[in-house]
């Protein structure tokens, strides 16, 4: 095994090509904008802006990747978010609910909508595309019926989940070089996260060793942990040194918690494996004893729940719920999932990958706007990136996928050679003939 491959597997595991390809793309995009914007893209204020502006899209992407892995699609998330938003805002503004009660209303609305859509998909077996297309119309309409096509403001307390930051504990610290730490909590949490990552990684290594499973080379693990630790601390530092009164956004914390929980569900629970099984081969899953209906129901219902949550975070940030909230969100979430390595045919994808995909979209948007590029062109560029990401994946799969990155430069040559040799060897191959 080459050092490069050892490193790659040590850092990313045997993840799909597109996933680590996208990590590099993300780094490249940030680096590019760092240069073109004179570093503004990595300013504390800008990072905080990116997080609070995209956290709800990323939350949607968590649910969406599960839906797509199971082989479905959900077009209704924007409308469901808007419907939940207007319900929550109305409950607080018109019915006088306290804001914690408003959140409960939002969760209940999410569950009800989820059960509704899940029922049609799993029991009546209406394709999710149709059910959620209908949902898109239904819940957009209901939003406008209930809000009478007007905006409904939300109270101050509620805005915390969209605009709030982690609380500052104690006084601001001033470092030797004059940098002011305005949010020690963020910094401390960053350190805790680094320790947690190191501990988990070594525990995993020890366990793997004890059962005789493959263990990546120690140096690869250490390089990985150092890099990861550096990245976490870099961002923790950035988020804790912004303007006075800022810090890591509450919506970002909600997102991180969800990423953690859902990554665990998809990777470490039987339910998660069942979702992959249903999307990978529904009939084989059914013959393996997987309750396909249940999986479909839960995946669709969960998506609506997360859409409800995203809707609440959005109105908290915007300060009001309006008739045009959430328009086009489903497309951003779906794009994030596919850029992040999910397969259109289902069965493939990860929560982390989708987050990377979502961040690629987020930084593209952000960086291009910072450069003053017109929104119309931003849309063109985002479209091209989506197309390129998926095309790259398909091309890489048509050849040996584990080799793609190191041999990317050589591939066109290698490919033609392979084709010629197979043609010579097996002129009768029916697959080639058809």
């Amino acid at each position: 095994m080459s050092k490069l491959r050892q490193f790659r597997e040590g850092v990313f595991g045997k993840a799909d090509v597109r996933q680590y390809g996208m990590v590099f793309s993300l780094i490249a995009i940030i680096a590019l904008f760092y240069i073109t914007t004179d570093g503004v893209v990595l300013n504390s204020a800008n990072l905080i802006n990116v997080v609070s502006q995209y956290s709800y899209i990323l939350i949607l992407a968590i649910g969406m990747v599960m839906v797509i892995i199971a082989g479905h699609i959900d077009l209704s998330v924007g409308s469901v978010a808007a419907f939940t938003g207007i319900m929550v805002a109305t409950s607080m503004a018109d019915w006088g609910f306290a804001w914690p009660l408003g959140i409960v209303v939002g969760i209940l609305v999410g569950m009800a909508v989820g059960a509704w859509q899940g029922f049609w998909v799993s029991r009546v077996m209406v394709p999710a595309f149709i059910v959620t297309l209908a949902g898109m119309l239904i819940f957009r309409g209901l939003n406008q019926v209930i809000g009478q096509s007007a905006t409904v403001p939300v109270p101050e307390g509620f805005k915390v989940i969209g605009r709030g930051y982690l609380p500052q504990i104690g006084p601001d610290l001033i470092l030797a070089n004059g940098t002011r730490i305005v949010n020690t909590t963020t910094l401390v949490l960053g350190m805790v996260a680094v320790l947690l990552v190191v501990w988990l990684e070594f525990r995993k290594r020890a366990k793997a060793k004890s059962v005789g499973s493959e263990v990546p080379a120690m140096w690869a693990t250490i390089v990985k942990l150092v890099l990861l630790g550096f990245v976490i601390m870099f961002f923790a530092f950035k988020f804790s040194t912004g303007n006075a009164g800022t810090g890591f956004p509450v919506s970002g914390m909600i997102l991180l918690a969800l990423v953690f929980i859902y990554s665990f569900i998809m990777g470490n629970t039987t339910f998660g494996r069942h979702v992959y099984a249903v999307g990978g081969n529904k009939r084989a899953a059914a013959l393996s004893g997987v309750n396909v209906q249940r999986v479909n129901f839960l995946v669709i219902a969960n998506m609506s729940m997360l859409a409800a949550l995203a809707g609440m975070i959005y109105i908290a940030r915007a300060g009001a719920s309006g008739p045009q909230d959430g328009v086009g969100w489903e497309l951003d979430a779906i794009a994030a999932v596919f850029i992040g390595g999910a397969a259109v045919t289902g069965g493939v994808g990860t929560v982390i990958g989708s987050m990377v995909g979502g961040l690629v979209m987020a930084f593209l948007n952000n960086g291009l706007s910072l450069m003053g590029v017109d929104q119309s062109w931003v849309s063109v560029i985002k479209g091209l990136v989506l197309l390129a990401a998926v095309a790259f994946d398909l091309i890489s799969k048509s050849n040996d996928r584990s080799q793609i990155l190191p041999t990317f430069m050589r591939r066109s040559k290698k490919r033609t050679e392979q084709e010629t040799s197979t043609q010579l060897a097996e002129p009768n191959n029916p697959q080639l003939a058809q």
């Binding site: 470490n268 099984a277 393996s288 009768n428």
Partner: protein, 518 residues
């Protein structure tokens, strides 16, 4: 016979050899069809009948096989089906190529529509008129604007034939034309075939139903293991003669040693009735009964489409068709197997016939595939212990000698034999008492077959019941202690292996005479 001596036969396929990577599907096969004549081709599943027809019709283009095809005395080099149809060779596949939502007329002229206005528009009047004529010719009494989905399989078959006639067919190939038909429809179809012959059309029929072959053929060609064994004049040939030709290979010692230790019956199904999932009034299981003893290997022999898989899947949590009635008894108690989950819970495992579409998620890696049917063994309250998964999968890798660098590899990277071992691991991992194996060695090389036989015997030796479904009679005879034959959804015989021969089995597999000797 109108056959003139001066004229060359309608079709001559000379020394056809067709290889797929690693397999010789056809080896020096020759076939001659006179004009007009009904020529049947017989052979076991996988003998190469369909491949031969695909070579003839241009599905496998000229150049992808060796040998020559002469049609009406001329050398033909078909590059696709269109070219063979252009000269009047039409094939009707077992799975009909009709579009359910379109009408009879639309289907009949699909891709071949009569035109008007200089080819700009379809001339529906002409199409309908010709459709009515053709339907009359094949004896089909339906309105031309009836949708295909609204007529039965028998009539659909007639539409296919009418469609072939619309193309001025000279050589009509029918692949298992009566497999899905009931007796009346079958007889009508055979009558129609005779009628076509009298009109000068030659027909090639591939069929497993020996009585029909005997009834209708002029010539019979027997293919075995990709070779032409013989071409018989149908006159005076009986079923036994055909069977001898079909199974005539030696039984070789391809099976591992085995110590038999057979206990009491512990599993039984009584009077199972199951309808076809598309629920016209066709039954795929008609009152089937069977039982299995501890430590016993029970073979189920039957031709494709006879209802073997349907029976197995019905037992396995009603996963096929529409269950009507039946009793399942295990260890003296009646049990309800209403879902796959409940079947697994009751210790029943089913290794499906088609491992790629039904057995495995090809996106999975080996370790997850191995535990797929029993996650509860490697998880607590729904949380998976990934290390246990690895340990368990690795244990089966060693035990079944699955050839792979690691259980972290994807199952799509494995060869067929090793994929099958993963599927077996998956079901052994569920600790079944009864293991149903459906075509466990299809498409697997000889070495891996032997290893799979070893596993089967090992499971029997552990006191488990094993049911093996196979199209290969030598395999059934080599593995089983007792053999059931099925034909058209019915169990037609139950014989101890000592009393079974390939000929006797083939007989019960191709006719409905119920004989019970046990």
């Amino acid at each position: 016979m109108v056959n003139e001596l001066s004229e060359a036969p309608l079709l001559e396929m000379r020394r056809i050899t067709k290889e797929f990577p690693g397999v010789k599907a056809l080896d020096d096969v020759s076939l001659t069809v006179g004009r007009p004549e009904i020529h049947s081709i017989c052979g076991e599943n996988g003998a190469g009948k369909s491949t031969l027809m695909k070579v003839l019709s241009g599905v496998y283009p000229y150049g992808s096989y060796e040998g020559d095809i002469y049609y009406e005395g001329k050398l033909c080099k078909f590059r696709n089906i269109g070219e063979s149809e252009a000269v009047g060779i039409v094939i009707i596949h077992q799975e009909l190529a009709l579009i359910p939502e379109l009408t009879i007329t639309e289907n009949m002229f699909l891709g071949n529509e009569p035109r008007k206005f200089g080819g700009l528009a379809i001339d529906w009047d002409t199409a309908t008129r010709r459709c009515v004529e053709l339907m009359e010719r094949v004896g089909l009494d339906e309105r031309p604007d009836t949708q295909i989905k609204n007529i039965g399989v028998g009539k659909q078959q007639l539409v296919e034939i009418a469609k072939a006639l619309s193309k001025e067919v000279k050589l009509l190939i029918l692949d298992e034309p009566t497999a899905a038909l009931n007796d009346t429809d079958s007889q009508h179809l055979l009558g129609l075939m005779r009628g076509l012959k009298s009109e000068g059309v030659s027909l090639i029929m591939i069929s497993h139903k020996l009585n029909e072959i005997e009834q209708i053929s002029d010539k019979i060609t027997i293919i075995r293991d990709g070779r032409t064994i013989e071409t018989l004049d149908a006159e005076g040939v009986d079923e036994d003669r055909i069977i001898r030709g079909m199974v005539g290979r030696d039984m070789n010692s391809r099976f591992p040693e085995r110590v038999r230790d057979i206990g009491e019956p512990f599993f039984e199904v009584r009077d199972i009735w199951v309808k076809h999932p598309q629920a016209d009034d066709r039954y795929v299981c008609k009152g089937s009964n069977l039982y299995v003893r501890r430590g016993e290997v029970v073979g189920i022999a039957g031709l494709m489409g006879a209802g073997r898989t349907e029976l197995a899947m019905s037992i396995f949590g009603r996963s096929y068709g529409l269950w009507e009635s039946g009793t399942v008894i295990k260890d003296g108690e009646e049990i309800e197997l209403h879902s796959v989950g409940s079947a697994i819970k009751h210790g029943i495992a089913y290794v499906s016939e088609d491992r790629k579409t039904l057995g495995l998620n090809l996106l999975d890696d080996i370790k997850n595939a191995t535990v797929q049917s029993k996650w509860s063994k490697v998880s607590t309250r729904g949380v998976i212990d990934k290390h246990k998964v690895f340990e368990a999968a690795d244990e089966y890798r060693v035990r079944l000698r699955t050839k792979t660098p690691s259980v972290n590899e994807g199952v799509d990277k494995l060869s067929g034999g090793n994929q099958q071992k993963v599927v077996l691991s998956k079901w052994m991992f569920t600790d079944p008492d009864l293991l149903i194996l459906d075509e466990p060695t299809r498409g697997i090389d000889v070495g891996a077959k032997y290893e799979i036989y070893e596993v089967i015997f090992e499971l029997a030796a552990m006191g488990k019941g094993v049911i093996v479904i196979s199209s290969e009679l030598p395999e059934i005879l080599g593995l089983s202690d007792r053999i059931y034959t099925v034909f058209e959804g019915q169990v037609t015989s139950d014989v101890p292996v000592e009393q079974a021969t390939q000929e006797s089995l083939m007989k019960s597999m191709t006719s409905a005479r119920v004989r019970t000797t046990a």
